[in-house]
């Protein structure tokens, strides 16, 4: 308790120097929380949007299906298993057939993925109700990104060429029924959605699918032959890695701020110990052990971090709250990275993040304060009392 009282008095006595260090430390707190909150918010938002638009609670993949391997895609299809057929009929599963295609917007040639999906499905937010499996012409929906890249508008006809199950090329025009806006690039960029039945017909893959989206995680141990269930832990792996990579890049900024603040604390400690030799000697003469004096100086340095929490809370709390409510406008092209990014990103400041940051900064400050304070334990109190240590 004496250590805290004394530390507080000394810090207050140092005036502007303390204020500056405390301010920079508080900046480190706020920036760490803000940057990590932004990434956590992005992660959260991307997860929610991806679940709603693309993944649902998981996906059964045909055993050969690999979204990143174009060479196996042509063989990655099989009849929808009975169990999942029944789920699809109840609206609990949505089979999707995937095939490679080429589109010719305005005479240009672009690679695309042709995806067939049941127009009655409600699991994903795709506006599949606009797809008419019974009409003569093939109806299609595309996202805004593809529409922009290919210059498409609602009502346009788009020429598509594909290969059927026997490898024969065929082509037809599809009518763009709806251009939807989504934050999930994976269901938009280069994706043309048409009714499942139509795609099965034109490819000769009747009753087949490449993957089946489900709205319930299957019971543990239940398997379907020829199909592999991919849960969130697998489906989000890439997203998490990407966010982690971005968060490491972003952390450089606040690491520099934190390093500057810690350097200031270290410097202050060194100066303080040199300048206050007499005080150190007097503490020892009055009956404190060197260890206790080291403790006083360590607490004093560490207290910068405590005061910084208070200062950081004063200006940081409203600032962070505001960013959480109003969100941060993301620059155009952010979703070109391939992950879901809304126009506005809403940071998410979890309690664990706030407490973790406070502990990290306090710990770092205490260690940095302790390092120069160790010199006290080697001081000769007689020389210290007379201020003779160089």
């Amino acid at each position: 308790m004496i250590a805290f009282k004394l530390a507080y008095k000394n810090l207050m006595g140092a005036g502007l120097r303390t204020l500056l260090i405390v301010f920079v430390l508080s900046l480190a707190y706020v920036l760490i929380i803000y940057m990590n909150g932004l990434y956590q918010g992005w992660d959260r938002q991307a997860r929610i949007e991806t679940i709603v638009w693309e993944m649902a609670e998981g996906q059964y993949w045909h055993e050969l299906y690999d979204p990143y391997d174009a060479m196996t895609l042509n063989d990655a299809h099989a009849p929808v298993p009975d169990a999942l057929e029944a789920s699809a009929a109840e609206g609990k599963a949505a089979p999707i057939l995937v095939t490679q295609a080429t589109i010719y917007p305005e005479g240009r040639m672009m690679g695309a993925m042709l995806k067939g999906i049941d127009s009655r499905q409600k699991i994903l937010s795709l506006p599949t109700d606009k797809l008419d499996p019974d009409s003569e012409e093939i109806t299609a929906i595309v996202g805004t990104r593809l529409a922009k890249a290919a210059g498409l508008e609602t009502g346009d006809y788009l020429l598509i060429r594909w290969r059927d199950v026997h490898g024969t090329f065929d082509a037809t025009e599809v009518k763009i029924e709806r251009i939807f806006n989504t934050t999930v690039p994976a269901v938009d960029m280069g994706q043309v959605w048409i009714p499942l039945r139509k795609l099965q017909e034109i490819t000769g893959m009747q009753g087949e699918a490449s993957l089946i989206v489900v709205d319930e995680v299957p019971q543990e141990g239940s398997t379907i032959a020829g199909w592999d269930f991919q849960g969130h832990e697998v489906l989000f792996k890439e997203l998490e890695e990407m966010i982690q990579m971005k968060s490491i890049g972003g952390s450089i900024f606040y690491i520099i701020i934190l390093a500057l603040a810690l350097l200031a604390v270290f410097d202050t400690q060194v100066l303080s110990i040199f300048r206050r030799q007499r005080e150190i000697g007097t503490y020892i003469a009055m009956g404190m052990t060197r260890k206790q004096v080291v403790g006083i100086f360590t607490v004093e340095g560490g207290m910068h971090a405590i005061l910084a929490v208070v200062l950081g809370a004063i200006y940081g709390f409203p600032l962070l709250l505001w960013t959480q409510k109003a969100g941060i406008k993301m620059p155009e092209g952010t979703d070109d990275f391939g992950m879901a990014a809304a126009e506005h990103m809403y940071p998410y400041y979890s309690l664990a993040l706030i407490i973790g940051t406070i502990i990290l900064v306090m710990l770092a400050t205490t260690i940095v304060s302790y390092m120069p304070s160790r010199k006290i334990s080697k001081m000769n109190p007689n020389d210290a009392i007379r201020g003779k240590i160089q």
Binding site: T282, A285, M286, G287, M288, T289, N382
Partner: protein, 232 residues
Amino acid sequence: MKNGSIITIENLVKSFPIGGGEFTALNGINLTFNKGEFSGIVGPSGSGKTTLLNILGSLDTPSRGQTNVLSTSSGQMTPKISATLRKKHIGFIFQTYNLMAVYTVFENVEFPLLLMKMPASDRKKAVLEALEWVGLTDKIKSKPPQLSGGESQRVAIARAMVKKPDLVLADEPTANLDAENSHHILQTMEKLNKELETTFVFATHDDKVIGYLRRIIRLEDGKVVSDENFNK
């Protein structure tokens, strides 16, 4: 330890390494201090006064020989034991006062009692009493930079005396004071010595201090050259 004595020193040698050799600051000191003494170690600069005082205050240890301060021998002296000895039984007064600038007069005097974990109400009483001894009850809220040299040294005396120690060690306490303040300080210490029976040991070469001492131990080149008692 001899009857009535609170400090005994036998064949004390203290040397410091200097360059490749050794400098002997104290050589073969044999002394005894009794309870209630008002004594001084006197000698020119470099004679070993402060070194001897630091050994008595357990801030330093002998190179050879034995000391026994308040029933604790130098052989038993661990950092913790010596810290406890200083905390409970020894008060220090320094030439440069060594007050804590960020603390008020009251808090400076209170500090040794905080270390002793004395309850707050007892602490307040003891601090006010100590400040009354030195005549500074009107300055309790002042901070050291607002005090004169004489006032600062009186605060230092109050800080040394507040725990009513058995032994007070004063190293050149008047060196930074004018004659009037020096006499005031010395009279205060003499009064406390008589009223509380506290043993005072000074290290000094100031004639004003020497005039008040009842025992003068003269040191020269680390050796006791005379030890005289005076009836005052």
